[in-house]
Symmetry: C4
Subunit: 278 residues, 4 copies
Amino acid sequence: MANFKGHALPGSFFLIVGLWWSVKYPLKYFHQKGKRRQLSRNYERLEIIEAAIRTLLPVIGILAEQFVPDGPHLHLYSEHEWIKLMNWQHSTMYLFFAISGITDMLTYLVSHVPLGVDRLVMAVAAFNEGFLFYHHVHNRPPLDQFIHSLLLCAVFGGALSIFLEVILRDNIVLELFRTSLVILQGTWFWQIGFVLFPPFGGPQWDQEDHANLMFITMCFCWHYLAALCIVAVNYSLVHCLLTRLKRRREGEIIGIQELKSDTTYQKALLNGSDESRM
Amino acid sequence: MANFKGHALPGSFFLIVGLWWSVKYPLKYFHQKGKRRQLSRNYERLEIIEAAIRTLLPVIGILAEQFVPDGPHLHLYSEHEWIKLMNWQHSTMYLFFAISGITDMLTYLVSHVPLGVDRLVMAVAAFNEGFLFYHHVHNRPPLDQFIHSLLLCAVFGGALSIFLEVILRDNIVLELFRTSLVILQGTWFWQIGFVLFPPFGGPQWDQEDHANLMFITMCFCWHYLAALCIVAVNYSLVHCLLTRLKRRREGEIIGIQELKSDTTYQKALLNGSDESRM
Amino acid sequence: MANFKGHALPGSFFLIVGLWWSVKYPLKYFHQKGKRRQLSRNYERLEIIEAAIRTLLPVIGILAEQFVPDGPHLHLYSEHEWIKLMNWQHSTMYLFFAISGITDMLTYLVSHVPLGVDRLVMAVAAFNEGFLFYHHVHNRPPLDQFIHSLLLCAVFGGALSIFLEVILRDNIVLELFRTSLVILQGTWFWQIGFVLFPPFGGPQWDQEDHANLMFITMCFCWHYLAALCIVAVNYSLVHCLLTRLKRRREGEIIGIQELKSDTTYQKALLNGSDESRM
Amino acid sequence: MANFKGHALPGSFFLIVGLWWSVKYPLKYFHQKGKRRQLSRNYERLEIIEAAIRTLLPVIGILAEQFVPDGPHLHLYSEHEWIKLMNWQHSTMYLFFAISGITDMLTYLVSHVPLGVDRLVMAVAAFNEGFLFYHHVHNRPPLDQFIHSLLLCAVFGGALSIFLEVILRDNIVLELFRTSLVILQGTWFWQIGFVLFPPFGGPQWDQEDHANLMFITMCFCWHYLAALCIVAVNYSLVHCLLTRLKRRREGEIIGIQELKSDTTYQKALLNGSDESRM
């Protein structure tokens, strides 16, 4: 949908997933390092819930694209004309991400799905988004075209990185890279919305001004910097939290042990024997 | 051949190979997982037959391109003019796939051919197809040019993925990816035929309409979605079939064993001895 | 800054880093080969100092870009106009390299930062430089545009190679390759300065002459040749130095041992006993 | 040099190297398989000779480019004009291949050169050739431009494949792929010579005819097919030769052993003892 909401919606979806990943992957990484494998069952449940949500969000997107007042309402062709192809293309993008979510669910629910298929389908979904965007923006004013095409860097870079994960699964660096690119997409969709359809009724941007293009390019870099910072901050927060939790638990254990040895000592005293020193 | 049949023929070839692969690779994967290696001899025979068919199909294609009534009949140059270069280019594409088939056969028949050469030649054949297509579509109307160029995504993506298999042989995810891209090519050739040369005499598509281009882009994505679904369904069918076969065989074995122990017990009874318990 | 100093500054920065790396990586490589691991503590300190300098240099760059007399002095937008976007873009490039330096420092100072993140952020910084340069040079005369675009080869090639190091860490060949590309960037920035803004008041180059473009292309290759030679020479020097140091140290050890055994022998003589032969 | 000889010379160089490689790599592969490691010393000598020749050939090329009657004779700039930049660019291409040869020699002669640097420099030489060719062919007639640009496929494909060998050294498939691409370059240089400068005084090709472009594209594919066949035939010949040699040697050994046992038996008979059966 070529309005502010039509960009805020996918932006929010990407942000939700990106922020969640920036918490999940550090968590998983620290747990694997600590070799506490007893949490694997819970992780699996978590992954299934995540995949379900990553299926649900695009479905909401599809419904919104199809059934907004000026949407195609599932009509594709009538009276020798294609109906609302923009909305149909957006629906197709959402659809691939929904398929990716379903594949993720299947990977964890059905044991005979080969590992890596989930990453492959996710890479395909990202590539597909880029592919449609690339052919999407012809015949538009320069700024509109340019601001969308910047997205392609994040999308194709992400697709490549995810495809690498087919081979190099569970590589924390690639996972954090993917996370940062997803957050970048999220914030950039919001930025596109603010630039092309100022929500608070400000003046329109001059679509032909070269200075605007230059600023937008630089702004894209700043967004990525922000995305990197968000990932770094969340990574550190997760680390601090886990360290504190660990200390408190160990503190309790030590406390209990001290309590125990105290009691043993008192008993030994009462018994008048040297048992406790043995 | 610039007509419906000329696109239906390669489309069918790709579909045959793609559908077969969508059965073969899951079969191989599940067998390898179950470590029933006694089937390897049969597999080898199967691979040779497959390679022979993958050699035969392009040969049929070459013969069709050369000896259709308006074909070049193996004449390349006469009276200072190149003859039917379109057909010659198509023949060249087929030729490389035939070479790929022959290489596959040699890999299994001749022991000193290094593993991976078959994948390399297949990647070369795919790249060659894309290379010729890329230089093939100049000076054509926009829709014709565009609908062929979409194929390049599938072809070059496939070439890259097959090249990866030189290094990462027997990776089920890459094999399924390749399979899905081959099916995509198959269905897309049919689609091109239907769009550019409507076989049932419908009205021609407007070659200049931007909406048509937009629809075709999206349609390509849907084709890939269909290809993914076909691969997924066949994968599941193969899994179900193997599981049922395994159960029945195990059932029979248990039945036979029960029968055996019954007979032994009866014999023991008849003989009035305790042999069977020893 | 579109003048000679504005190119000499980043050129010097890249040269400093490149020349240092062309000494550091051979040193590290030979030490790892000799398995003298006791130096690892010193190496870590060295890496932190290097990272600090690689943070400091871009900060100097940013300050220079912002606070030169005709700089933006941290003003981005006023009176409905973007202010000095060129300088802002340069600042952004520097900023990413500063972030890369900080990440390197954190990798060595903070133990829970996953290995490889430093390389990822460095690759991002290089990509970001190329990305901004790519969108930077529109609307300029051909030679200006071309001489900057040649830089993209070195930048994107470097970004790819550094990204590979995320997976293949401590590969000496990739490290030397990176080093040579950084030196190339350094000398090329100086070359750009000399061509576009002749510092000694020579005649301007003809921006439209095709022969100039051809020479510049070839000149770029020669610069890379020079960079390769610098890396090779420094590599050999480091090797010679280490070999000589090793020999001298061994010589001393042998000398000390000879001295020792002499003394022992004399003592033995004095004592009139056979202790020393036990 | 823009004449027939100027294309026949590099073509011959590439063909010599390519044909030699198509013999060397199968030889090396079969020897490594048979684990006859005693040949490694000879191999090293062979590699050094090969590297020396691969240094010598480009040096001949440089001398030819510089000192042909209409060459620049090492003058680069005089009277405010660049002199014969074409020849200088060709010299630069040759120079990089010479550097690659020298690096190969050093890798085998000097033990402290890290393995893989030879492949890196070879990849750089190939990339450099493509880089100069890419910027080389502007402002030429379409057929001239196109026939040279086809070379880029072989050159950049080769550069990528050689770069992969930095990581995956001694992979026979990559080595054969490289070999086939070098042969392709060799034959294609000859083809360019024949098309652009018919040596036997035939009629010029029409540089603007689209059919010529189409034929040339297809012809390039046929050249690669021929290159693949040459590699395959040489591979088989090497295999046959080695098998026959092995059989003859084993035959001799068996013969000698038979002779030996015969003599022993006769001795035993003469001695009238059962020694030989012990």
